[in-house]
């Protein structure tokens, strides 16, 4: 077990290193002049000498390989660099933004799991064919709706129409509700689609017939027998879902004028603040990697058929790659 965890940790570190490399290549090695970006989008009259000073200041005059190694070394010490317009450490900027984002992301995830899961269960549970079809038609709509538009509709209905929740800001619980609903929409729709699909296949399995034959009621068959198995495939995409929530905050926090990771990202992109953008990308990759690691470790607890053995891990390998692939 500990050997398995160590192996997975090494893999996780490998992915993070690769994510750093990819983001470095995209942000520093693509054709384009980082120094000109540093000077700012409006700086049209910078002289070549000024650009050279900037390059020297940020180490951009060194060869790419040297820059790459220097950045990597700083990263290992936990230093993500400094934001260009504000001059503050990137790690600090991200750290400050996390709590506010965590509030809406946590509530959003909760809503998504409850509503999405509930929808999938209700659609397979109902005896009424038309109602089931109607419920199954909802998730595709949820996936197709633009998040920023949905957020504006919510503001229009529940802030201006019926003044229930504030339209902007981060004061108290009421201000968390609408952003959380916005984040929950695509995520909940994804969960509902996955779960309803896997519930339908699970309910066709012979052991479900056995459960019916033994006299289990519909509630017991669905919740106790079918849901437990059907939820496992949905669990493997947790990493994807968390990533979806994280990228959803960019639009959501902009619309609701909330501070948080999404706002930091949007501002950094608008100001072409390369170190902050790289920090956010690395943070997202880290969240994805950690989530998948946790899912892989939790998986055997939920599905006793999966056993982490000392040497050969056939089934776990399948679960791990499935998690990483999406």
């Amino acid at each position: 077990m500990s050997r398995y965890i160590a192996l997975r940790l090494l893999q996780a570190i490998g992915v993070l290193w690769a994510a750093y490399t990819v983001s470095f290549l995209v942000l520093y090695a693509l054709p384009g002049d980082p120094a000109r970006l540093l000077a700012g989008p409006d700086a049209t009259d910078v002289t070549a000498a000024q650009l050279d000073t900037l390059r020297a200041q940020f180490g951009l005059d060194k060869p790419l390989v040297v820059q790459y190694i220097e950045h990597l070394g700083a990263l290992l010490r936990g230093d993500l660099g400094t934001s260009l317009p504000t001059g503050r450490p990137v790690a600090e900027l991200i750290g400050e933004a996390i709590p506010s984002t965590l509030q809406i992301a946590a509530l959003g995830l909760l809503l998504a799991v409850l509503v999405g899961g509930g929808l999938a269960l209700a659609a397979t549970f109902t005896r009424h064919r038309g109602l089931g079809q109607l419920l199954l038609a909802l998730p595709p709509i949820g996936v197709a709706v633009p998040g920023f538009w949905f957020a504006l509709l919510l503001i229009q209905w529940f802030s201006f129409g019926i003044p229930l929740f504030p339209a902007v800001g981060n004061q108290g619980f009421a201000s968390v509700v609408l952003p959380a609903i916005t984040l929950a929409l695509p995520t909940g729709a994804t969960i509902a689609q996955l779960l309803s699909k896997s519930l339908v296949t699970t309910l066709r399995e012979p052991y479900i017939d056995t459960a019916w034959a033994k006299g289990a009621g519909p509630g017991r068959v669905h919740l106790r027998h079918a849901l437990r198995n059907a939820a496992l495939p949905a669990l493997t995409v947790t990493g994807l879902i968390v990533g979806q929530l994280l990228s959803g905050t960019v639009v959501t926090e902009t619309v609701f004028s909330r501070p948080g990771l999404g706002r930091v990202t949007a501002t950094a992109v608008a100001q072409q603040d390369i170190p902050v953008v790289q920090g956010i990308v690395l943070f997202a990759a880290a969240v994805f990697v950690v989530t998948n690691l946790l899912v892989d470790l939790v998986y055997p607890l939920l599905d006793p058929r999966i056993v982490i053995r000392k040497r050969r891990l056939p089934r776990v390998r399948v679960a791990a790659t499935a998690g990483a692939s999406r």
């Binding site: 690769a18 990228s247 960019v250």
Partner: protein, 336 residues
Amino acid sequence: MTDTTALAAESARASTGRGTAHDDTFATTSADRFADAAASREAGSIVEEPSAPTAADGRTGRVRRLLATGVQHPGTVLAAVWIVLVLVSTVAPGLFTSQDPLVGVPAEKLTGPSPAHWLGTDQLGRDLYTRVVFGSALTLQAALIAVGIGLAVGSVLGLLAGFVGRWVDDVVMRIADVLLAIPSLLLSLALITVLGFGTVNVAIAVGLGSVATVSRIMRSEVIRVRNAVYIEAAFASGNRWSRVLFRHVLPNSAGPVLVLAALEFGTAILAVSALSFLGYGAQPPAPEWGSLIATGRNFLTTAWWLTTLPGVVIALTVLSANALSRALDSEGRRVR
């Protein structure tokens, strides 16, 4: 189109093949047999006599089957019609409206939907319906460029990984793994940071953001096809690898990638309009679906139609693209 020609060639080969067997000139080695088949196929396409009726039969049967599926799935038909209408509006917006998207009548500013202005007017008295119609050009062109880039780069990488295998496969797929660890919107945002703002840059960024998914699906399809017996046969009959790749592997593994393309089209529309909404894409006064909604945001309390109605158009378009993708998918599975 390729399907029907392949079908005609198939039937021609079958019928003339029977003839040659009867004439006792059946080739013995596999290479000869291949040359034989190629020759008879050429002969068949010139003569065309035995194959013509079967091909025509196949075509009417196909049309009838298409109609039957259409009646069974009215939603798919509606989705296809909507997508066609929207696509036509990108090249010929004049067919749908006679007004100018950039010139408004100040006296009619911020009026709600009416017979004169189907979707109402904006703060400068411009007709919103006209702006949505003209806006489809920017949004959909960006989405199409994005899908094109994603498909082209992703397919090449997936094809290489699946067909060559070994270390190429390992390298490409590890890179894809890493790219999948970063949410695609964040990846697009990182690319925009470097490339700068503008519709084309947004399109490139969104397209590159989808490369990993496409390459993964292409690779799994190529591997499925590559292990098929007919690929072995194609190699055994002395084909060069390039011919096997382009003539056998690529056409047979393209199906699921096309399904993905329809899906990615919808995703790209969402991503492009979201990025434009954030202000990284088309700049006003150019009409673009995302930035139309961004402008309407300032008039939420007074003019609901400025945000609501363009959003409905985006949602319907994405919904249609997804529905088409699903229909293609189930059709592909049925055929296979």
